[in-house]
């Protein structure tokens, strides 16, 4: 008898259900648990109170990213609370035997950047972390989602979670992305369409020609922001692009184990005829660079567009729009391009990988940032930093007048001193434009690295396709053509 066609989500789910008591959620086995300093301390305290150990330290890995300064690492940490929190994660990892990529380690970085770059993130896995952007790892065809601190304690204690099965939401992006348009624009366009709660209860599966053509790092950008559309996870079925990215990485299977793993991974993509609870189709050919104007990631428009007026939105959304524009100090109907900026932030688990650095550098090479503008470029990990420096990108950024920092979450969450001041406007390659997210009173525009870098040059929100070429740069748009899937290390924009 033929098996019922299943989606990749259903296959991974079925593969990890330990047991399912009547009326209770399934006990789901967790393959990899990523830990950082901010959401874990109370979970370790819980373990101590119960007298429990970490059940599988070899399936657990920790780093320090959220509250760590991005300044010279030899400087003392002046924020007493951050210093204590960073000391605490180190102590907890030592006590419970968890491998720790901490301060001073060449493999430290944002948890969602180091998992993939170390080869820890692999297709078909269940991956959790006390961070909502754990969805990033879905780029490899893993079921990866954020959890709270009680759940961190659960996974530390049992290497399982109690879970109800999520529903399937197919996001098909057809065609081919135009030059200057990349994964960040795709995800901002999706969230603008379905809203910040549109994916609640679901897992996105991204499919279609435009997705297949994305590099692994672009897929990570895409999956990363699934949570901003309300989906706890998002994933892309693994393919040759994924296998090529993973092969030879430090924690990836080697030799015969590699061949066996790949054979298994090839069975993961959704079966022909598998059914989805919801489907949306996005015309990839028609997408433009996107930018947000409001106070949630669903408030996004094409960069050539105008900020909506109350008449453009559903009656129920008008109050939200009014409140957002009042906070942002923007007018309904005004073009978003040309909006004055104070700060540009390039980095984060959304856009802090080497391709993002190359993309931003392709714009800034031979140019200078606008007068009076503060531009921070923060690599996603120490390995990204080292790679960028080996390519001379740090020099490109410094010569252009930007700051080149140590790795960390930095101004995405503004816990480490990198922040907007009240009233300042920042364009940011990060994932959240919530009120106060990047510093209390700060006002954020979310965009791609290309758009952020183009805006750094002009000092106002700028369509990267409109920058005039310089002697050493052929213009952002020319650098921004989508890369073929066969080149997982493809450079420049995505």
């Amino acid at each position: 008898m033929a098996e019922r066609p299943r989606t990749i989500l259903e296959k991974i789910w079925d593969d990890h259900v330990v047991t399912s008591d009547p009326g209770a959620p399934a006990i789901l086995a967790i393959d990899l648990h990523l830990v950082h300093e901010v959401t874990s301390p109370q979970a370790f305290t819980g373990l101590r109170e119960r007298g429990l150990k970490v059940r599988k330290p070899g399936q657990t890995v920790a780093t320090a990213d959220h509250s760590i300064p991005t300044l010279d690492p030899s400087l003392p940490i002046t924020d007493e609370l951050a210093r204590k929190q960073l000391a605490q994660i180190e102590e907890n990892c030592r006590e419970f035997g968890i491998p720790f990529h901490g301060k001073g380690s060449p493999t430290r970085g944002i948890v969602h950047v180091i998992g993939p770059e170390l080869g820890l993130t692999q297709p078909g896995m269940t991956i959790v972390c006390g961070d909502s952007h754990t969805a990033t790892h879905g780029a490899f065809g893993a079921l990866a989602f954020g959890i709270g601190t009680s759940e961190i304690e659960m996974v530390l204690a049992t290497q399982t979670l109690l879970q109800r099965k999520p529903r399937n939401f197919k996001v098909e992006v057809t065609g081919r992305l135009q030059p200057g348009v990349g994964a960040k624009d795709v995800i901002l366009a999706l969230i603008a369409r379905i809203g910040v709660g549109g994916g609640t209860g679901h897992v996105f599966e991204y499919t279609g020609a435009a997705i297949r053509a994305l590099s692994m790092e672009a897929r990570m950008t895409l999956c990363n922001m699934s949570i901003e559309g309300g989906a706890r996870a998002g994933l892309v079925a693994p393919d040759e692009t994924a296998f090529a990215y993973l092969k030879g990485r430090r924690f990836a299977p080697q030799g015969a184990a590699w061949d066996a793993a790949v054979a298994g991974w090839r069975k993961l993509p959704s079966d022909e005829g598998a059914t989805y609870d919801r489907t949306i189709v996005i015309d990839g050919d028609a997408l433009e660079p996107m930018v947000t104007y409001g106070t949630n990631p669903g408030m996004g428009i094409p960069i050539s567009g105008r900020i909506p007026s109350p008449g453009d939105v559903e009656p129920a959304a008008r109050e939200d729009l009014d409140r957002a524009l009042a906070y942002m100090g923007l007018q309904a109907g005004q073009p978003i391009a040309g909006q004055k900026l104070d700060v540009v932030f390039i980095g984060s688990c959304t856009n802090g990988r080497i391709e993002d650095m190359r993309s931003a550098a392709s714009v800034l090479r031979g140019r200078h940032v606008a007068d009076g503008l503060r531009v921070l470029v923060v690599p996603g990990s120490q390995q990204v930093k080292a790679q960028a420096e080996s390519e001379g990108l740090d020099e490109v950024f410094r010569s252009a007048g930007a700051e080149w920092r140590e790795s960390g979450c930095s101004m995405c969450i503004a816990m480490n001193g990198d922040q907007l001041e009240p009233g300042e406007y920042g364009i940011s390659t990060s994932n959240r434009n919530f009120q106060g997210r990047q510093g209390k009173g700060g006002r954020s525009f979310l965009a791609s690295p290309l758009t952020a870098a183009a805006s750094a040059v002009t000092g106002v929100v700028t369509d990267p396709r409109t920058l005039q070429p310089t002697a050493t740069s052929s213009g952002a748009a020319a650098q921004a053509a989508p890369q073929p899937a066969a080149q997982p290390t493809a450079v420049e924009a995505h």
Binding site: V18, T19, I27, A29, L32, V38, T39, P41, Q42, T45, P57, Q59, T60, V61, H66, S67, K84, Q85, I98, P99, L118, L120, G124, G130, D131, F145, G146, I147, G148, S150, E151, M154, A157, T158, Q159, T160, L162, P166, G195, V196, G197, T200, G230, R232, G248, R250, F251, Q254, N296, G298, A316, D320, A414, M415, P422, R432, F434, Q435, G436, G441
Partner: protein, 211 residues
């Protein structure tokens, strides 16, 4: 261990906004603590204080004197989106909130809330509108949320049923948490693991080839 929770009666605080994210509920700079102390003060902090630290005038929602001690929030659509920080439900509970009424809750927030015996009560858009009208007409009316009966009783005596994850309900009514339950199923977990070797070993090792 949490205390058992069965039912409570309280007045309601209306915050008629949609998409209230966890950065509003508990701003990130309050996440540097390594315990759960002081979080009641962090609740909705940036709504309550100007960037220079002055309390807003008129006071915001929970700072209005007549809202002191109220245990229920009535909010717009999609409450709790954004970050997975459990500090959000911790802050709500620390302030004294036990139940929140909305048309929907973000998945991670909902799970975190239930683990802290904070009840996310989902109502239809029509019901939400009628509850908003009710609070506007009778701002000091007392509502009863009965988890055991899965029923909300309004000041006039009208009541309606609500859905809640049956497993979470059992846990909250008994005042137990899930770790004990899962540990009681350890033999099943061990049996599963015997047939499914770990897919990765995070213990330090040398790079095989430069990534």
């Amino acid at each position: 261990m949490p205390e058992p929770f069965v039912r409570t009666t309280s007045r309601v605080i209306p915050i008629l906004r949609s998409n209230i994210d966890t950065d509003q509920i508990c701003p990130a700079r309050f996440l540097k603590i390594t315990d759960k102390a002081g979080l009641a003060d962090a609740l909705f902090f940036d709504w309550r204080f100007t960037p220079d630290g002055t309390r807003r005038n008129p006071p915001s929602f929970i700072d209005e004197p007549h809202n002191a001690g109220r245990q229920m929030l009535l909010v717009g659509d999609n409450f709790g989106s954004g970050s997975s920080r459990e500090h959000a439900p911790w802050a709500l509970r620390a302030w004294g909130i036990r139940a929140i009424f909305s048309t929907s809750f973000a998945d991670i927030f909902k799970g975190n809330a239930l683990k802290n015996a904070l009840l996310p009560i989902v109502v239809s858009p029509e019901r939400l509108a009628s509850l908003q009208a009710l609070v506007a007409a009778n701002p000091d009316g007392e509502w009863t949320v009965d988890l055991e009966a899965q029923k909300v009783t309004l000041p006039g005596g009208e009541s309606f049923a609500f859905e809640i994850d049956p497993f979470a309900r059992t846990m909250i009514l008994a005042g137990t948490d899930e770790i004990g339950y899962v540990l009681s199923r350890l033999p099943a977990i061990e049996a599963w693991e015997a047939g499914h070797p770990a897919r990765v070993d995070t213990a330090p090792r040398e790079s095989v080839t430069a990534p």
